[in-house]
């Protein structure tokens, strides 16, 4: 077996930039995915039919087509369609955010429906306005119920963020690709990338566990 991690060492400082990029990506797409996912979930439970229909169609499209195709559509077609020269970073965050919102909105919708209807009735009986019932009574309980799936979604985003290497963003995987090209050491390059992703996922998992523990104080 031919292994030589020594050849890789000079490139390790550059890995830091790659990891930063991966984290930045995950962070912003999680924020966008969650924010838009919340709006979409409300759209889906809306009694106004055209809105609910839009929510369904949106989810169907983003779940029914490959993420990589969505990424390429947004990155390569945006300049053609609206004349805006979208950066790879923007395209990535947009694609992952829009995609993840489709999944998150389904989780939240399920979470909202899982809250006992007595909760809404009790708040209504107290004269609480609809918007407040959603915001203060239903939503917090829904989020608590679906916290594990939200953490999973964010882990999926972290891993999927490696796709942006394809459109040239200098993330962790991109670092490994360049390293392989320069040193011809494939195993060393990609195993390091794999370990980096694994460590990040584990870190995210433990953050998720901590969040769940805190959410359980009222149990």
């Amino acid at each position: 077996m031919d292994l030589d991690f020594g050849r890789v060492i000079p490139y390790l400082p550059l890995l830091k930039n790659g990891i930063t990029m991966t984290l930045k990506f995950t962070f912003w797409s999680t924020i966008l995915g969650f924010a838009w996912g919340v709006v979409l979930s409300l759209i889906k439970v809306s009694p106004f039919k055209p809105l609910a229909w839009f929510g369904k169609a949106y989810t169907s499209f983003f779940r029914g087509t490959p993420l990589l195709v969505q990424l390429m559509l947004i990155y390569f077609a945006t300049p053609q369609l609206v004349g805006y020269n979208i950066s790879a970073m923007e395209a990535g965050v947009l694609a992952f955010g829009l995609n993840s919102a489709a999944y998150i909105s389904e989780s939240i919708r399920g979470g909202i429906l899982s809250v006992d209807k007595g909760q809404r009735e009790a708040a209504m009986a107290l004269g609480v306005p609809k918007l407040w019932i959603m915001k203060d009574i239903i939503f917090p309980q829904a989020i608590k119920n679906i916290l594990p799936s939200l953490v999973n979604e964010s882990i999926a985003l972290l891993k999927d963020s490696s796709m942006v290497a394809i459109i040239g963003v200098g993330d962790t995987l991109r670092w490994a690709q360049q390293l392989q090209a320069k040193t011809f050491r494939a195993f060393e390059a990609f195993i390091i990338a794999a370990v980096v992703y694994y460590v990040l996922v584990m870190a995210l998992t433990s953050i998720g566990n901590e969040l769940e523990r805190r959410a359980r104080v009222s149990d």
Binding site: D116, G118, Q119, E121, A122, A123, M124, A125, L126, G127, V128, P129, W132, D136, I137, P140, Q141, K144, V217, S218, D219
Partner: protein, 240 residues
């Protein structure tokens, strides 16, 4: 205080309430009893519009609550409701359960709302549970908090929807005691219950519902000793 005229309620093809007329005066305690499925809860839930009546009229303090310009949220501020399954907010402490609506709906300051809540918790004997979450309370304690939560809005009317039906037998008494302490203090009460002894003791008026009809309205003495309708007689034979 509450005037119900020819009220009817349908769920799709199922007629649950038929031509109900009933008047409840200020400060009165009215017990609504009857076999299960007779429409007791639905009648109660029409009063604060948790159910929308299919026909008829309901007036509260002389104003129709079914008018197009009537505001259900405003109406409900003045009508407290206690549910069979308590429906406390599980993600809020007992204190927060009690201050939430007064702060959001009545715009009370946090200090005012908490002061009021603390007083009411003392009244229902649960001062030591102020900072607990509902999951730490027994059924009877939960229902006492739920009553205190309703009272925190200072309603003129209080509706009880089978408040002791979900409780273990040994907890029924503590809840009934609290309800009893509220009766005849000026607050108007309508109570759906299966506790016949309690209805007899506390109510000014018994409403007997049968198959969606208000079959009989009588004082407790009249109703329990010599019910006029045959259905009420049959019902009492079964439950007493």
């Amino acid at each position: 205080m509450i005037k119900i005229q020819n009220l009817s309620k349908k769920f799709k093809d199922l007629v649950v309430l038929k031509d109900i007329s009933l008047e409840i005066h200020k400060g009165e305690v009215v017990a609504i009893i009857g076999p299960s499925g007779s429409g007791k809860s639905t009648l109660l839930r029409c009063i604060n519009l948790l159910e929308t009546p299919s026909g008829g009229q309901i007036f509260i303090k002389g104003k129709s609550i079914l008018d197009k310009d009537a505001n259900p949220e405003k109406l409900r501020k003045n009508i407290g409701m206690v549910f069979q399954h308590f429906n406390l907010f599980p993600h809020m402490t007992v204190l927060r359960n009690m201050t939430y609506a007064p702060m959001v709906v009545n715009k009370l300051s946090k200090e005012e709302a908490e002061k009021k809540a603390v007083e009411l918790l003392a009244k229902v004997g649960l001062s030591d549970k102020t900072y607990e979450y509902p999951s730490k309370l027994s059924g009877g304690q939960k229902q006492r908090v739920a009553i205190a939560r309703a009272l925190a809005m200072e309603p003129e009317i209080l509706l009880f929807d089978e408040p002791t039906s979900a409780l273990d037998p040994e907890m029924v008494k503590e809840v009934l005691e609290v309800i009893k302490s509220l009766a005849h203090t000026g607050i108007t009460m309508a109570l759906v219950t299966h506790e016949m002894g309690f209805a007899r003791e506390v109510a000014d008026k018994i409403c007997f519902l049968d198959d969606g009809y208000l079959a009989e309205v009588a004082t407790p003495e009249e109703f329990f000793s010599s019910p006029k309708s045959e259905r009420a007689q049959q019902f009492l034979d079964k439950v007493l």
